[in-house]
Symmetry: C2
Subunit: 321 residues, 2 copies
């Protein structure tokens, strides 16, 4: 039986899986990226995991290709460059290392594009020609599909939605600029908003017991679900900012749908309700009521993994041998 090997490289864990053409995962493994000391460690752990995975799959399993997704991937070069949360040197020739180890075609895409491909090929975006997927985690990732294809731009750096400016005098961003969308709309952005609200308002809140280091988006969601007014306001503010940004996305791309995935999207209606309301408010008239706001159908864990595997089946231009 033919399988694609999907590799989803994240800051905490790296997941691998054998996936058939229908998007069914036959078996899977993971190891902790965060416990690797260098790229050499990383590749050693990766090769061991792949060996184990193939052994478990048995001699009937036949690998046709490898697809991978990673933060800071340079899709044009097949490299991972200046990845802030990976134990890598500034430039890692990922595709070259994999192709010299295995005699197979290998393709590398940005993590957010991997999730977008997963949604397109196996999820709720099946059959859609124009849509956007936003991954709301520590930062904000994005993939944009136009006329059925992922956009990548001249240098492979398109759809950097986390770094469009929503307020030129706004919050400092890790990129060195101010007011980037991800400083407001992400798990970290939600936390920053909660701290701003605690500073500005006198409302009692269970969130006042958390240090900045210990506060999480999950804790804010739990407080909001328990009726904590300040936590609810934090979600409203985040949703309002997201909705306004999505109205701009509509103006650029006129998409059929915008998907929200990632840890923060797991908060569900706490985020979707104010975001949808705000998007409708800010939309130009001819988009109103026409753009669906949807959760990912695949969940946080499998969207990227399935997307990387689909790279093999789709024979995308990023693939090389």
């Amino acid at each position: 039986m033919k399988f694609a090997l999907g590799i989803d490289i994240g800051g905490t864990t790296t997941k691998i899986a054998l996936v058939d053409e229908a998007g069914q995962i036959a078996n899977r493994k993971f190891f902790y990226t965060s416990k690797q000391k260098s790229e050499n460690d990383f590749f050693e752990s990766l090769f061991v995991s792949i060996s184990e995975l193939m052994e478990e799959a048995g001699s009937e399993a036949h690998l046709t290709g490898i697809g991978a997704g990673a933060p800071s991937a340079n899709e044009r070069e097949g490299t991972i460059e200046n990845a802030a949360n990976l134990p890598f040197s500034p430039k890692v020739d990922f595709v070259k290392v994999l192709t010299s180890k295995y005699d197979l075609p290998v393709s590398l895409v940005k993590d957010s594009n991997a999730s977008t491909l997963g949604e397109l090929n196996y999820g709720a975006a099946k059959g859609m020609k124009n849509f956007i997927l936003l991954t709301l985690g520590t930062g904000l990732g994005c993939g944009v599909v136009v006329d059925g294809n992922l956009i990548s731009g001249r240098g492979g750096h398109a759809s950097e939605a986390g770094h469009v400016c929503v307020n030129k005098f706004g919050r400092e961003c890790g990129c060195g600029r101010k007011g980037c969308l991800e400083t407001y709309v992400s798990a970290t952005g939600l936390k920053r908003t909660a701290f701003k609200l605690m500073a500005n308002s006198m409302a009692e809140s269970s969130l006042r017991n958390y240090s900045y280091e210990n506060m999480t988006a999950k804790a804010i969601a739990q407080a909001a679900n328990a009726g904590d007014v300040l936590a609810l306001q934090a979600f409203d503010y985040t949703g309002e900012t997201l909705g306004r940004a999505m109205a701009d996305m509509a103006a650029w791309f006129d998409p059929e749908a915008i998907f929200l995935s990632g840890g923060l999207a797991a908060a569900g209606e706490l985020l979707f309700q104010p975001a949808a309301k705000s998007m409708e408010f800010y939309l130009l008239d001819f988009y109103k009521g026409k753009i669906k706001l949807l959760p990912s159908a695949l969940g946080v864990n499998d969207a990227a993994l399935l997307g990387t595997a689909s790279l093999v089946w789709q024979g995308l231009p990023t693939i090389r041998k």
Copy 2:
């Protein structure tokens, strides 16, 4: 000899021309759109102009198709809808009227897309796969080319750059919302900025002799070229806002170049210099120094006309018979 008929419909004039496949204009005509009382008047004037044009061209001239560009064009339907500056009823079946008059394929695109096609096929964007063209006139029009193709989105309303939000508490826009890019970056936006500066500052300025109704972008450019400090500040502010918006465009599309065309772009360095400086300042690191800011190579008058003619030669999907 084979020709395409290009039709560029604007609020003031409608231009028509016979264009060969190399983009050479054989002959041309125009009539005043603004003097037409209704769409019936408009079509009558258009048909007369086309007859005259064909007569002048002689019996050797053979028409292979018709391409047209207009504000508020619905490219999917071949209609012109709710055009604020045309003497039309809410929905004009442009393509249907033309095809029933002439036994030829007819294609209709938005005016900004027509200019973008002109630049792509006959101008400075020849050979570029990823670029953006901004038309800075009364409003701000935009065309975006991704992987060699104009993007249009689900409903044909993509690349509405004039209505992305640069300040949620900003200037009122004709669309009914606030802070749209075109309320700052357009001939009208420049004028509004000059009036704001006259209100805020005590600087002497020749612009203080103009009423709002009489003020033009051209007058502000002339004052700036004569060293008027307030007029120069108006261009700096406009360029700064444009540059920040272009940094966002880079994040979305990673283009090879951004072209500025239209009346306001004719101000040249007065606009380009602060816009380029601001764009470089706001760009994410990996775009810095990589995105060209260029003037249109075709000029205000011919870009759209050539673009509409190219619709015929390219056989784009919008074409119908």
